[in-house]
Structures are given as structure tokens and as C-alpha cells.
């Protein structure tokens, strides 16, 4: 077991940031903490990286207790805090070199591990980190977190504010790292990234709502969701919300997701209703369920 969290709670003044959370991450697993801003993800990361002490509960990382064996943990984990902490006035190479030195290693020693990522930013190695684009900063931060070949890698919202292309590349990199035997705990507010993890914990307001593989979470969702489309989306949402049997209505990409209260729902009835409301180009079809749908119904 790489990470074992047992009934952890943490409060700041009145606010309960983390509320009796329990989960386990297996060796070599890519585990995702999925939840919006303020869900308590960062607090969990800080407890596991020994930066905070929980009010209740216990946790182990790589077999070490997060409170008592602080030194051992600090030697064996890599951590990339939110907002990619880098020295903006140091160049790419200087940043990497610095982190290598303080971890008592050299860039050459673990170059294999970071090679795939580093070659992408190497052309800019003399540029100050502050002048890099978001995607490149993210890659550099990952290199810095990997430079001492950690057993467990903690990535707190590594893709926030990064464009879809860089995000996609980043997840490919994570998969490769996982193949090298590194256990990865990653958090993200982007629900579409959940499906890229082996297992995920859906988390909101300090509580874990569900833990499972993304596929199981989707398969276990019992309600039927329909994609509805019409020319005037705004009016469509408005009218769907006034449909008597609606359970929930929300925009979802090019469609509106509609869930009915009754299992006996007949799409044709809805079609008629929408036609009467003067909608045109109406499409109603069963939707592919995503983690985001499940999350919104929790």
C-alpha cells in the first residue's frame, strides 16, 4: 500500500476542511481526487506531505507515518503544490539544478525519469521560469518534483488554468511515469480528467462522496440521461425546467442533459411539449454518462 488514509479530519477555525476521510492508494496506482475548488483537496495533500497535522485520524505514505516519520516521507515523496511553485527569476535549468541539489542528487543521476518531459522544455532552458507559458511551467514543475526519483508523487491541481492541449500531454506523461512504478496521487477540478485515473475519489465540502474506478462509477449510475438539443439553447433550458416531470436539467456541451423523475419517461412526450413551445431542430437521444453527470447528482 502506497498511501493509506484513515479517518482524517482537519478544521481551520470554524471551517471543517476535511471531514473523516478514508482511502487507500495501491502501489503504482494513478489515483485521482476529483472535486471543485474548496473541496478540501489541498488540505489532504498537505497532510500527506507532512505540511499539516490532522486533528483526527492517521495516515501513512510509502509505509511511513505522516506525523512521526516526517523525515523519511520528505525523502521519498515528490510534491507539486497548486499554482506550480517555481522560482520565477531563475531560469529553467537553474530551477531544476537547484531542486536537484537540495534533494542531494544531480540532474544526470535521474535524467532517465525526466527525459521525456525535459526534452520538451530544453529549448528554453535559459529562459526565466516567469517567462514560460502555463503548459511549460507545468512541465518544469513536474521535472522538479521528479528529480529525486520519488516513490510517491503528489500533484495538486497540476492542470488548473492550463489549456486542453497541454492538459492532454500532461496526462500522457503521468501515464508514462506510472509505468515506471511511481504511485501518483493527483487532484483536479476538471471532471473529464477523472476517466484517465485508475481509481478516483469524488470529493466535495471535505467529504468523499464515492471511491471507485471511473467506469464502475459510471456503470453504477442508475438514472437515464437524455441529450436534448434545439436551436435556442437558452430557451430550451428554461422550458425544460418547467416540464412537470423534470428531475434535473443542465447544459452539457452542445446538448442539454435532461433527467426525468419517472422510469417510464417517453421522449416523444417531451418532443411534443417542446414543439408546442415553438422549438425547432429538436433532437432527443440517450446520452453517454460521464463522471461530471454523476458528480452533479451527488
Amino acid at each position: 500500500m502506497s498511501i493509506a488514509v484513515n479517518n482524517i479530519s482537519k478544521s481551520y477555525k470554524k471551517l471543517k476542511a476535511v471531514d473523516s476521510i478514508t482511502f487507500k492508494v495501491n502501489d503504482g496506482e494513478l489515483f485521482g481526487l476529483i472535486g471543485p475548488d474548496g473541496a478540501g483537496k489541498t488540505t489532504i495533500f498537505r497532510i500527506l506531505t507532512t505540511l499539516l497535522v490532522a486533528n483526527e485520524g492517521s495516515a501513512e505514505v510509502a509505509g511511513y507515518d505522516v506525523v512521526k516519520q516526517l523525515k523519511e516521507i520528505r525523502n521519498s515523496v515528490g510534491y507539486m503544490p497548486g499554482k506550480f511553485s517555481l522560482y520565477q527569476d531563475l531560469t529553467v535549468e537553474e530551477n531544476l539544478h537547484f531542486f536537484a541539489t537540495i534533494f542531494g542528487t544531480t540532474i544526470e543521476e535521474n535524467y532517465d525519469l525526466i527525459k521525456d518531459i525535459y526534452i520538451q522544455i530544453e529549448p528554453f532552458k535559459d529562459r526565466r521560469a516567469g517567462a514560460l507559458s502555463g503548459g511549460m511551467k507545468q512541465k518544469l514543475a513536474l521535472c522538479c518534483a521528479l528529480i529525486h526519483a520519488p516513490k510517491v508523487l503528489f500533484l495538486d491541481e497540476p492542470t488548473t488554468g492550463v489549456d486542453p492541449v497541454s492538459r492532454k500531454e500532461f496526462w500522457i506523461m503521468l501515464k508514462r511515469l506510472q509505468q515506471k512504478g511511481i504511485t501518483i496521487l493527483v487532484s483536479t477540478p476538471y471532471m473529464d480528467e477523472a476517466s484517465l485515473c485508475d481509481r478516483i475519489a469524488l470529493i466535495q465540502k471535505g467529504k468523499i462522496l464515492k471511491i471507485d474506478t471511473p467506469q464502475n462509477i459510471i456503470n453504477n449510475y442508475e438514472k437515464v440521461i437524455y441529450d436534448v438539443q434545439a436551436k435556442n439553447t437558452h430557451g430550451l433550458i428554461h422550458d425544460l425546467k418547467n416540464y412537470p416531470n423534470q428531475y434535473s436539467v443542465y447544459a452539457f456541451g452542445e446538448f442539454v442533459h435532461y433527467i426525468d423523475k419517472n422510469a417510464t419517461f417517453n421522449p416523444n412526450d417531451l418532443q411534443t411539449y417542446l414543439k408546442n413551445k415553438n422549438h425547432t431542430d429538436i433532437i432527443i437521444k440517450p446520452a453517454t454518462i460521464t463522471i461530471e453527470d454523476v458528480f452533479m447528482d451527488l
Partner: protein, 371 residues
């Protein structure tokens, strides 16, 4: 070996930060020079049209000539002729005049017979710089008169100028400014710069990574403060050099002792800086705390600007806990009196005690976690 490498790596990084922030660097090195020049200029300030009074007890040809010369100079304005010595005090108290020149009785006669005559210049030393300058200018004018007289008369005579200071006879603050400015600068560079650079890492979030690394707290601290020890020493050298060459501030004592005491003070200021960084979460707070909590006491309570023995008692007591006070005493003793450690061991011990206290406290307070 690894430890040394880590340390060097850390210090190198810290120097990158310092040298890449051109504006701070300019302030760091420009400020000491500007301050020294500013204070130095204020002290050697020219005087112009200063009101003086004259008590001429002989009223003969020589004194008339001298008084005429003084009146003719642009520096003085003879506002008053007074009649008797007992009036001097009351003239000063009125506050209008800054000096009184007293010619002894039988001035010409003494010059003829004894070959020496005395002019006394009594100055109001509540403004010590002005008082000193007045005394110097008076001497200069009289010397000038004398040398003219010599040319016309081969007879060797001497007019002696005795100057006396009222109220602040030792002219205590004349050489105050070099030790004072040095103290302020060292405090500022050491405490403010370190506390800001540590809190900057907190703001950036890089502190989180440093904490989650195998570095021990004291390694982080030493790595962060070392560059500033270095910069502070350079600053001290710049200030002393300026003081010595531009303002003729003597260094009568041992330079090594001075260096040792300076480093001691720098370290105590650095540990104060670390202490500040442990209680502040933003660079702004750190700056305000250093300015308000350190700079003001250093300027006000250290004896740099206001003499400590003229402060109310409670303030005098408080001044004892200001490291700067002891440092200023030490620096003045070494530079002006030229004394060795045997005369200042007490102050040195106090400074060492404070430094140890601050270092212990700051290492204790430095958190290995985020809260």
C-alpha cells in the same frame, strides 16, 4: 559532502534572486552611500549670517579691528553688544544668538606685553554642528587677522581663541552619524531583506517544496541568511570607508575588533529578520514589521539621534533591550576612543547574549510545517 553541496546550491540560488532584482540591489547599495552623504552633508553644513553677540571688555584698537573683520564676513551678523559677563546666559536663553565672543580686558596691551591675547567663543551647543562650525569659523577669521598682522609687524604675537560649548560640552553627536547610519543600514539590510526573502518564498509557494524536502530547518535558514551576511559586510565596509575618507571619521581602535563586533551585530539583526518572517505571511507584513518594529526603535532609542541620557527614564530602560544601542556604544568606543576589548567586553557580552537568544528563538519558531 552532500550537505556542503546543498548549502552551496542554496546560496547560489539566493544570489541569483538578489542580483536579478536590480531595483532592490540598487537600494541595497545606493542607500548606505546616500544616507552617509546626507548625514555628512547635514553635519558639515555651511553657516550663513548667524546672529552673534559680542562682549568687548577692552574696547581698544585691536578688538575694534577684529570685530570689524567679523562684521564684514558673510557668516556672522553681530546682533548685540553686551556689557557684562552675567548677561551672556540671558542672551542665550532668548534663543536669538548662537554665540558670544568675549574679548578679555586689556586685549591690545596683553598682545603687546605678553605677546598673547585671548578671545573666548562661547557657543550654544544644543545644535552641536552649528556650534562647532561657528567656533571654527571664528578661529579662522582671527587667524586670518593675525597673519595679516604678522606681515606688517615682525613682532611675534598670538591671539588665542578659546572655545567653550554651552549645554552639550562634549559635542556628543558629531561623530554619531557614521556609527548610527551603519547601525541603521545593517539592521535594515539584514533584518528586512531576510524577512522579505523568506516570506516571498511563502507567498510563491516554494516554501512548501522546501519544507517537503530533506533540508533541515537550520539548513534553509542558514542558506537564506548567508548571502545577506555577505552583503551586510560589504555595506559596513562601504560606510566605514566613506566615513574615513570623506568625513575624516577616525578609526583609532582595532579594525579586526570592529569587524568582529559588526558581524556579531549583523547576525543578531539577521536572526531578528528570521523571527519576523516566522510571524508574517506576506512580504508586506514583513516589511511593515521590520520598519515599524526594528527601524524606528533603532533610530529613536539607540542614541543615534537623541542622546539616551536626555530621555525620560522609562525610555532609557527600554533602550537597553535594543541591540543597536550596544552596538553604537561599541563602535564609538573602538573608532573614537581606540579602546580594546577590555573596555567593551560588557557591551559585547550583552550583544552576544541577545544574538544567541534571537537565534534560538527564531530556530524554535521556524516551523517545519505550514502551521
Amino acid at each position: 559532502m552532500t550537505i556542503m553541496k546543498r548549502f552551496i546550491g542554496f546560496v547560489k540560488k539566493e544570489f541569483y534572486h538578489i542580483f536579478r532584482d536590480k531595483r532592490s540591489l540598487f537600494i541595497l547599495f545606493g542607500m548606505p552611500i546616500a544616507q552617509i552623504l546626507l548625514f555628512g552633508f547635514a553635519i558639515t553644513n555651511e553657516i550663513n549670517n548667524v546672529d552673534i553677540a559680542i562682549l568687548d571688555q577692552s574696547n581698544d584698537i585691536e578688538t575694534q579691528k577684529i570685530i570689524y573683520k567679523i562684521k564684514a564676513s558673510p557668516y556672522f551678523n553681530v546682533a548685540n553688544q553686551i556689557e557684562k559677563e552675567s548677561d551672556i546666559e540671558s542672551e542665550f536663553k532668548k534663543g536669538k544668538i548662537k554665540a558670544v565672543l568675549i574679548f578679555e580686558p586689556n586685549f591690545s596691551k596683553n598682545l603687546e606685553t605678553k605677546k598673547v591675547a585671548v578671545v573666548q567663543a562661547i557657543t550654544d551647543a544644543t545644535e552641536p554642528n552649528v556650534a562647532n562650525t561657528i567656533a571654527n569659523y571664528t578661529s579662522a577669521i582671527i587667524q586670518n587677522y593675525q597673519s595679516q598682522k604678522k606681515q606688517s609687524n615682525s613682532n611675534q604675537v598670538k591671539v588665542e581663541v578659546q572655545s567653550r560649548m554651552f549645554y552639550n560640552p562634549e559635542l556628543k553627536s558629531v561623530f554619531n552619524f557614521v556609527p548610527g547610519v551603519m547601525t541603521v543600514i545593517l539592521m535594515l539590510v539584514s533584518a528586512m531583506m531576510t524577512s522579505i526573502s523568506i516570506t516571498r518564498e511563502k507567498e510563491l509557494g516554494t516554501m512548501e517544496i522546501l519544507l517537503v524536502s530533506p533540508l533541515k530547518p537550520f539548513q534553509v535558514i542558514i542558506g537564506k541568511v548567508f548571502p545577506y551576511i555577505f552583503l551586510s559586510i560589504i555595506n559596513a565596509i562601504v560606510i566605514l570607508t566613506l566615513g574615513y575618507f570623506v568625513f575624516k571619521m577616525p578609526i583609532n581602535g582595532s579594525i579586526f575588533l570592529l569587524a568582529f563586533e559588526s558581524i556579531l551585530f549583523i547576525i543578531s539583526a539577521l536572526s531578528l529578520g528570521i523571527l519576523i518572517s516566522t510571524v508574517s505571511n506576506s512580504q508586506q507584513t514583513a516589511m511593515m514589521l521590520s520598519l515599524m518594529g526594528l527601524m524606528l526603535p533603532v533610530i529613536i532609542l539607540s542614541g543615534f539621534i537623541f542622546p539616551i541620557n536626555s530621555m525620560p527614564l522609562p525610555m532609557q530602560v527600554i533602550s537597553n533591550i535594543i541591540p543597536a544601542k550596544w552596538f553604537i556604544i561599541i563602535v564609538k568606543a573602538i573608532m573614537l576612543k581606540g579602546v580594546g576589548i577590555q573596555y567593551i567586553w560588557k557591551e559585547t557580552l550583552i550583544l552576544i547574549g541577545m544574538t544567541v537568544f534571537f537565534i534560538t528563538l527564531s530556530i524554535k519558531k521556524y516551523k517545519i510545517r505550514l502551521e
